[in-house]
Amino acid sequence: MLNKEFDKFKEIQGTLLKDNPTGGFVVIKGDEVLGVWNDRGDALKAGVETYGNVPFLVRNIQEDLDDPANIINFSRHIQFA
């Protein structure tokens, strides 16, 4: 599940934050970094126009996956796919 793209994101997140202090959404496909957009919709559009409707990563550069505040909770038991 986008493992290569997540590895690349973790590798460059610090640089992305330094270069884009107000935040944004990065598009990564494999090792390629397409760019950073202010809006998720614009980033998605650029990715689809470049690569087509295939898996690539669109990620908020300010979001830390390991931050407990970003972990999604449910009040019921849900089995995920």
């Binding site: 669109v58 995920f80 796919a81």
Partner: protein
């Protein structure tokens, strides 16, 4: 402000539900439109779930809409934390048919449930929900 009122004679048993129209995200719809391809869309019954951080759809819905994952979210499950594929979609509520809400949803196994989606707080943040147990009704304001 669009308002929709629902009356469910057995609200305590069924819970507040709503019919949603789910489509791929706007950018994918535009790309498919340019290619002259049919836009996949699916009407689903969703349970309005104030206990869900984000909206979930059944695996069958994701498959039927041929959704592609562009992100992942960390989820707290019974077995611990797990990384789950997230899908960008447009969600259209019956009270605002002209407007698709762009959200990221998770794919869940909702087989054997009377609904095939959970409408979570990511969409409810755009709404006012009034649950009136006294007369088995609920209202959604957008």
């Amino acid at each position: 402000m669009p308002i929709q009122q629902f009356i469910s004679p057995n609200l305590i048993f069924h819970g507040p539900t709503i019919e949603l129209l789910i489509l791929p995200p706007k950018s994918v719809v535009e790309a498919l439109h340019k290619q002259g391809k049919k836009i996949p869309q699916k009407k689903v019954l969703a349970l309005i779930d104030t206990g869900a951080t984000c909206t979930c759809i059944d695996s069958s819905v994701a498959k039927e809409l041929e959704l592609v994952s562009f992100d992942a979210k960390k989820v707290q499950t019974a077995g611990g934390e797990d990384l789950q594929a997230a899908y960008d979609v447009s969600v259209v509520l019956p009270l605002a048919k002209h407007m698709g809400i762009q959200v990221q949803v998770l794919e869940a196994k909702l087989t054997n449930q009377p609904y095939s989606a959970l409408l979570g707080r990511d969409i409810l943040r755009e709404c006012t929900l009034i649950y009136n147990g006294w007369n088995n009704s609920y209202q959604l304001h957008l």
